[in-house]
Symmetry: C2
Subunit: 179 residues, 2 copies
């Protein structure tokens, strides 16, 4: 009886890891990213903040962005330690940026000319998962891009690593921890 309990606990403990690291078989199911086989890590929205950004692409995109990290990644960021250890996961949350008429009105009362931009709606969520063996051919990182909970296609995921390659000296990650 006792060994059943032990096995069960082990299985439950492993489940947390396995769920977001489905085999990169190229035959990923509908909820995993092509090429890398990554599903959405449970609880990522509660991870700690690395930094925030604002991205514009002409008049095509205007986004407020936040980068969050799991505990392994945050520890490495705080210690300014690269390469990131296996098990590091970084989440990039992207939202549209919109002017808040309400906030602007209030703030401009005290600070004339102020404009307050806030989050409009979710655009996509991206993940980088560090596994130096599994993802050896892409700098040790697996990539995933989800919109409305669904992964983007293979063509989209083929662009991830080439875009991150210029940041090789910081283990392929651009963002710095915001002190």
């Amino acid at each position: 009886m006792k060994w059943i309990v032990v096995v069960l606990i082990a299985v439950i403990a492993l489940a947390g890891v396995v769920t977001y690291m489905a085999p990169a078989s190229g035959q990923a199911d509908g909820d995993a990213s092509p090429i890398y086989g990554i599903t959405i890590p449970p609880g990522y929205r509660d991870w700690k903040l690395i930094a925030v950004k604002h991205l514009t692409i002409g008049n095509k995109a205007d986004q407020l962005r936040a980068q969050l990290g799991n505990d392994i990644a945050i520890k490495a960021f705080k210690e300014a330690k690269v390469p990131f250890p296996d098990g590091s996961i970084i989440a990039a949350l992207h939202w549209t940026r919109v002017l808040s008429d309400n906030d602007t009105k209030v703030i401009a009362g005290q600070f004339p000319g102020a404009q307050s931009f806030v989050i409009g709606s979710a655009v996509n969520v991206q993940f980088m998962v560090k596994d130096s063996k599994k993802y050896a051919s892409t700098g040790g990182w697996g990539f995933a891009d989800f919109a409305n909970g669904k992964p983007g296609d293979r063509k989209l995921h083929e662009t991830c690593f080439p875009c991150h390659a210029p940041a090789a000296d910081h283990d392929f990650f651009f963002t710095h921890y915001a002190a």
Copy 2:
């Protein structure tokens, strides 16, 4: 001997609470906010993300901002529950927004016209601490504004509550949780 240990544990446990809730005596020490007597809550940088913002004030200010909450506040946000329960603390981290030449160069390779704005340096950190009895005259909230670890003056802190008053229908808090 045993009771000494118990008392010591109790003192250590309380210390975490007391450090950020010094008496609002009006004689706050150098590290506590005037009027409200709030010091910087330990570990706030590791709190969970509520949302991000971008604020401009003409050419005087251009800031990327993140709002973080302690566990009590985050639970209330997720449940869309107001008023916030006592013990809720919200942190607002403000940084300068600067164009990243490096990021822009990389991203614009794939997305022509892209501009990536990142965090420059820390401007200030603000806190709202919910204690419906202690801060009854200011909507149940105490306020604090720190720059370089030092609280702003009394005049600055006199502006906190009037500015938040228009958000009375959301318990004096403007930001919505970013799903």
